[in-house]
Amino acid sequence: MDFRFTENQQDLIDAAKAFFIGENTAERMRKIAAGETVDNLWPQFAELGLLGLMAPESAGGLEQPLVVMAGVAEAAGYAGLPEPCLEIAGVSVPHANEEELSGQITRAMRSELRPHIDSSLADSGEVVMSIDPLRKLVKADSGNDQNIDSINHHGAVLSAAQLVGLSQRMVDMSVEYAKDRHQFGKPIGSFQAIKHHLATVYTQIEFTRPMVHLAAIKGGRAVHTAKVAAIDTAMMAAETAIQVHGGMGYTFEVDLHLFMKRAWSLCGEWGDRNYHMKKLEELVLEGDEPLGPGTTFS
């Protein structure tokens, strides 16, 4: 029992985070939103080993477990990375041998709308616009009914992890803003109402992240709890962040909205709140899952 990243794993995650934040600046995000072309990061994703993070060593991958991918996904969320790098590296690659992968992914996402994970779909499907200006959705058909548990597990965990990163980013942006913005002759961050709002979100994040890690390793009911917790935390983080930013938060000009809208869209992806809550109703309230002390990890 050592529920921490190993030093190697943490180094990998830190390197990914530094790369995501360094490359995917707000300026880059705004360019994409405006339809301008930006640097193509895919060669670097590959070079850094991100795409093969979960692939077997025999295939040149790093053979890391899903929980490490979740650490990387949190970093990608934090950076607001628009490329579906996680989805490819964490969902498609590990299931590359499955038949009809594409249809299954669509089903696992529980929506006929999905980001263009593979270019073939982007070419063929009907493109739908999201409120997230960096997100292109394509309409895809639902494919056949196959066992999608593992795909679902990976997708839900990685979307939850990104939501944790996004929540953290929105808190950090709000803290910076609150230190800087003055009213009544003081930084607004010195007002207790502002402090308490942000402390509340911070606490929710601290009690969501480990749940996402547990969900990555254990699967099952932990995945549903993790996704619901991540959704609730992210929605709260976004609402708090806009409140702390005041009128500035309600503009297209301040970066906050880019992260907020990403959070909204990830909340509905890979099983929305209703889906995961219904699963928990079945398992916890109506099912015969063991409950109580000693049942979370064993």
């Binding site: 029992m1 050592d2 529920f3 921490r4 990243f5 190993t6 794993q9 477990p65 929980v67 490490v68 808190v171 803290v175 609150a178 230190k179 003081k186 930084p187 961050g189 010195s190 207790q192 502002i194 402090k195 308490h196 942000l198 402390a199 509340t200 911070y202 606490t203 601290e206 009690f207 969501t208 992240r209 480990p210 749940m211 890690h213 547990l214 390793i217 254990k218 932990a222 709890t225 619901v228 917790a229 809550m277 928990l280 109703e281 916890v284 309230l285 409950l291 109580g292 002390p293 000693g294 049942t295 979370t296 990890f297 064993s298």
Partner: protein, 385 residues
């Protein structure tokens, strides 16, 4: 990351389970906020101690088993799973003991830890004063050095179970003329000292769970100073860290309550509005999150990390989770929620008791407003002024 329990962990869990099955009293003990209940809970501490189950993570020389915190978590899981009695010695074993282990002299460790472990000496915390609650640095109770003694004069309040306990650990002003956080010290004081008067205070449920303590020139041997003289604030903050952080409330207690809540929902679901199931699941999910976070924290602590201001997030989470969980039970019980005992009372009034106590969670161990201040200023770095 590795979340496997070793076969040794599993064997340990089984041994705890077996012992508890053979020893946990079949009937719930009366509240430890009454003399009768207190005595029975002390008896239970003796039973635990006799077979060395009271403090599995303490060094063996002080009555423990020298095991790590993962074992302690497993012990707690089995303990609450078996619905064993609450720990009347909690302020001693969870708050004072780690402080003594960190700051105490060898003589203090040898003197105080074994009787604490055996239940022979039960401890109360004496920090709050009428004028110093959240603002603990406003403490006025003073201790004047007189040869080999301190002479303590002043008043403490809200001291849990001090009516029945044997000793208290007090925070007092040892440096004359000092202000705020400076000049305070931690003293260990027998509650039957001459000049010390205890006045019981009835709590919300009517039982004398608190005491007010009046110190009138109480002579305390100087060797009962814990940690540096005038450096008591730092010592107290270490204790508060244990209180808010890990030890006082492990996840198992809440997970047991969440499992009982699910059963309560099952028994009553036909008359409940649809929103209640969401609340029950929310309560259950919170306990899962608390458990995951605690294991992660224990892994970090075992790898040498120390817990400081982040402990405040822990205290916020468990206290608000507990209140929400019990409020949900109150909702489910509906018209029967007000019943304290008797045949009509659901679970003999246990949920109502739990709800009342859950209302104290956001107050004791530093109010939740104070915890939010700490997080905002020391963790997030927002300006104090």
């Amino acid at each position: 990351m590795n979340i496997e329990f070793t076969s040794e962990h599993t064997a340990f869990r089984e041994a705890v389970r077996e012992w508890l099955a053979a020893h946990v009293p079949s009937k719930r003990l009366p509240s430890f906020d009454t003399q009768e209940g207190f005595d029975l809970h002390r008896e239970w501490e003796r039973t635990l101690a006799k077979d060395k189950w009271g403090n599995v993570n303490w060094p063996e020389e002080y009555g423990g088993r020298g095991l790590d915190l993962t074992h302690w978590l497993i012990f707690e899981e089995e303990y609450y799973r078996a619905d064993a009695p609450l720990r009347v010695s909690q302020n001693g074993i969870f708050l004072l003991a780690p402080t003594i282990m960190e700051y105490g002299t060898d003589a203090q460790k040898a003197r105080f830890l074994p009787p604490m472990a055996s239940g022979a000496e039960i401890w109360a915390q004496a920090w709050s004063e009428p004028g110093a609650g959240s603002d603990m640095a406003a403490i006025r109770t003073k201790a004047v050095r007189d040869g080999e003694h301190y002479v303590v004069t002043g008043q403490k309040t809200w001291s849990s179970r001090a009516v029945f306990a044997d000793w208290c650990f007090a925070l007092v002003r040892t440096e004359e003329g000092s202000e705020r956080h400076k000049g305070l010290s931690k003293l260990l004081i027998p509650l039957d000292s001459p000049g010390l008067t205890r006045r019981p205070i009835a709590q919300l449920d009517g039982d004398p769970g608190f005491a007010e303590l009046f110190f009138d020139e109480v002579r305390v041997p100087a060797e009962n100073l814990l940690g540096p003289e005038h450096g008591g604030w730092g010592v107290a903050m270490a204790t508060a860290g244990f209180e808010r952080g890990l030890l006082l409330r492990s996840p198992a207690r809440f997970q047991a309550a969440a499992a009982r809540l699910v059963n309560l929902w099952r028994e009553h679901k036909d008359r409940l509005s649809s929103g209640v199931s969401e609340q029950v699941l929310q309560a259950w999910m919170n306990t899962e999150r608390f458990c995951a976070a605690t294991y992660q924290l224990v892994s970090r602590v075992q790898a040498g990390a120390s817990v400081s201001s982040e402990a405040s997030a822990n205290k916020l989470f468990w206290s608000e989770m507990d209140r929400h969980l019990h409020r949900t039970a109150m909702t489910i019980m509906g018209a029967k929620a007000e019943l304290e005992e008797g045949l009509d009372a659901i679970d003999n009034g246990r949920w109502l008791d739990g709800y009342m106590f859950s209302l104290a969670g956001p107050i004791y161990a530093g109010t939740n407003e104070i915890q939010r201040n700490i997080l905002a200023e020391r963790v997030l770095g927002l300006p104090r002024k």
